[in-house]
């Protein structure tokens, strides 16, 4: 069987998240390079997953797309986490493994004893597993860290490895839940943290000593689709660690299509909109400004290039490179992004801005915001009315939206070109609202 890829699901969910009901099925299909039939099938599968994880919310397909909309006060867990529960598993396998885990939750067993338990507990119509299957399951469960081999002579006994929760008091469990929740929401990477949070929450809700457990935390303004980017994160981190190249089909975010089905029959192969890329991953950058990840890679043909994680599909590891090459390119990159507001590796420019302090009694939130968000920039010449902010960045393109967000609380002094651009943009924006003036 071909390796299961979730690119289709990821692209579909991202499109849903970002466009909140803007497209009908045909429009979605066009943008994803899929048939309407395939869209329906994928949606049905995703809906089933959500329905199984949250049986309390039995939902229709329409409600499913509704679920994906961002609702701040209702959202306590990331809506898209269910994607990571999508790996397919045969019915018989899921029955068997759950029986094994439940048994080892009680006490330690040998593989032969587990085989017997399966014989006694699995439904009579289910095909009974053989010893080899059980040994393979036990090996798998040990490998993913769910169970652990007890010390002692052969035959080995295995039991569930969940001391982490069993040995904590109920008060400690609350602290643990809070820590996991807070770190998953405020730090990266976060998917494993969200998975752990979900498990802990259900465990605590069953816990007698903690009645009426509530989730007290809210996180404001989160970028909900960022966890989709983490789907490729670990493959890329591994490739960086192993100094290996990767290959993928890349859809530039500027292209109207974001995915395309892999056609196995060459006769029907359409022109792919995506481009085949091969690159040596050097670093991954998380951009807090938009909640997106970038892959920075090197290839001898194109040099150092940036890819948006959302455009990467059909990612696979490729051949390794010499350590020396990786190190050389990595230090070249470090030098180049030293002054990147985000990922721009263009020429450094020195920018000087005067920020204006709000008039009392309004607190000086401008100064506070500049210190908080101004990265490595320096503040000087502070008076009661204003202060100067100076920063060297690669190009002005990436910092410009941030400067503009301050509106009339700042004035670009240098470089002249940026100053002129700002003036031109404000003129244009004023023209957008010229009708407002007539109303005053």
């Amino acid at each position: 069987m071909a390796k299961e890829s979730f690119d289709k699901e990821i692209q579909l969910l991202r499109l849903f998240m970002l466009t909140s009901g803007a497209y009908n099925r045909q429009q979605l299909a066009d943008r994803l390079g899929l048939s309407v039939h395939s869209i329906d099938k994928t949606l049905r599968r995703l809906k089933d997953i959500v329905g199984t994880i949250h049986p309390e919310r039995s939902i229709t397909e329409k409600e499913f797309t509704e679920t994906l909309r961002y609702r701040y006060y209702d959202t306590t867990s990331p809506i898209l986490l269910f994607l990571f529960r999508a790996k397919s598993l045969k019915e018989s396998e899921s029955q068997r493994i759950s029986t094994l885990v439940a048994a080892m939750n009680e006490r330690a067993y040998t593989a032969m004893e587990l085989l017997e338990i399966c014989g006694n507990t699995l439904p009579s119509d289910a095909a009974l597993p053989d010893e080899k299957t059980i040994r393979a399951d036990v090996k798998y469960l040990e490998q993913v860290g769910v169970i652990r081999k007890e010390s002692g002579p052969r035959p080995y006994r295995y039991r569930i490895d969940n001391d982490l929760v069993q040995q904590l008091t109920s008060d400690e469990l609350i602290d643990l839940y809070d820590f996991v929740d807070i770190m998953a929401n405020t730090q990266i990477p976060s998917v494993q943290g969200y998975l752990l949070r979900e498990g802990l929450l259900k465990f605590i809700q069953r816990h007698e000593a903690i009645p009426a457990f509530t989730e007290p935390f809210l996180y404001k303004y989160h970028y909900p689709s960022r966890i989709l980017d983490e789907a490729h994160l670990f493959t890329l981190l591994q490739a960086i660690h192993a100094r290996r190249k990767v290959r993928f089909t890349y859809f530039s975010p500027k292209s109207p299509q974001t995915y395309t089905s892999q056609n196995t029959n060459p006769l029907y192969e359409r022109d792919l909109e995506g481009k085949q890329e091969q690159t040596l991953p050097l670093a991954i950058i998380y951009d807090h400004q938009y909640g997106r990840y970038y892959l920075i890679g090197y290839s001898s043909r194109y040099g150092i290039r940036k890819f948006r994680m959302e455009g990467i599909t059909q990612l696979v590891e490729d051949e390794p490179v010499e350590e020396a090459l990786f190190q050389a390119k990595r230090s070249e990159l470090e030098h180049k992004i030293q002054h990147s507001w985000l990922v721009d590796t263009g020429h450094p420019v020195n920018i000087r801005i005067r920020f204006f302090t709000p008039e009392p009694p309004i607190p000086n939130f401008i100064h506070e915001r500049v210190l908080l968000q101004g990265q490595w920039g320096m503040v000087s010449n502070t008076t009661n009315e204003s202060f100067i902010f100076e920063i060297t960045v690669n190009g002005t393109l990436e910092i410009k939206p941030w400067i503009r967000s301050f509106g009339s609380s700042c004035e670009v002094l240098e470089p002249r070109s940026l100053r002129e651009e700002m003036m031109a943009e404000w003129k244009e924006i004023r023209d957008y609202y010229a009708a407002v003036r007539e109303n005053i």
């Binding site: 598993l89 730090q187 752990l196 660690h241 938009y290 507001w341």
Partner: protein
């Protein structure tokens, strides 16, 4: 390591839960162990608990992402944890009243104000914690920085009072709800992805007019979020235009006019730095 593991499969998970078992994978333990290296772990746990967790995780690995994974354009972390967090969290869990002594912006201190705390909110933008609570004496919904809280104590409150406060919170949220409609200028459709990312942290409905190939974004928000949304609109600049919300249109017009006035006034003085 693979995030799409069959052990995370949804049917398997729900079966295991039905049987009352709790499982945790080494990926989750590795994540936890990595996060415990963060300085905030010392504020999140008592030394005894932290030590216990570290012992329980001694066999596990940590992610080494510090060199490969970089972060850009983030706000400086003021704090991830705050010393009041654990106390307040427990008061919320116990559904009791609170008595707060806190500073306000001009430096004055309010002493032992009685209220009911219902949520703790972390601002990803300001990187600090806020307490959402209802002030019983003033009958107002409060949004107080944990940094400004001097002292917290428990106080009593009746279930009837809580019920009343909760319906009060709901009706005030409903009353404070606002809407605005934003048009993405068609010549910027190529930047649609970036524009939608910028709005992805808000509640919204998006309309696509196929004939015109144009997108409109209808935002739903609470009144006190207006300033943040305006800063996003200025952030996106010429790419977007407010088409519904007189207040926003007015404010955008004022911003543009005042910003231009800054440049007009100072062009001469900048050209001659000695003046």
């Amino acid at each position: 390591m693979q995030l799409f593991e069959k052990i995370f499969n949804y049917q398997l998970l729900s079966r295991i839960e039905e049987q009352g078992a709790f499982m945790i994978t080494s990926q989750e333990r590795t994540w936890l162990k990595t996060m415990l290296q963060h300085p905030s772990a010392h504020e999140a746990f008592s030394p005894v608990t932290l030590d216990k967790l570290q012992t329980l995780l001694r066999q596990d690995a940590t992610f080494d992402v510090s060199t490969a994974l970089l972060e850009k354009a983030g706000s400086k972390d003021k704090h991830v944890y705050h010393p009041h967090l654990r106390t307040l969290r427990r008061l919320i869990l116990r559904q009791t009243g609170v008595q707060l002594t806190y500073k306000i912006k001009d430096g004055r201190i309010y002493h032992e104000e009685a209220g009911y705390a219902y949520k703790l909110e972390y601002s990803m933008v300001k990187r600090e914690w806020y307490l959402l609570w209802y002030n019983l004496r003033r009958r107002t919904l409060m949004h107080t920085r944990l940094q400004q809280i001097v002292d917290v104590a428990e106080s009593s409150i009746t279930p009837t009072q809580i019920e009343h406060i909760q319906s009060e919170i709901e009706s005030r949220h409903a009353a404070n709800q606002r809407q605005a409609t934003i048009l993405v200028l068609r010549r910027y459709n190529r930047e649609l992805s970036r524009i939608l990312y910028a709005f992805s942290c808000f509640e919204k409905d998006i309309n696509y007019d196929e004939a015109q190939d144009s997108y409109t974004i209808q935002l739903t928000f609470l009144q006190d979020e207006s300033e943040y949304i305006l800063s996003k609109l200025r952030f996106l600049g010429m790419r977007v235009k407010v088409i519904e919300s007189e207040h926003f249109k007015q404010r955008m017009y004022e911003s543009a006019t005042r910003a231009l006035a800054r440049y007009d006034e100072t062009t001469t003085s900048e050209a001659n730095p000695t003046s």
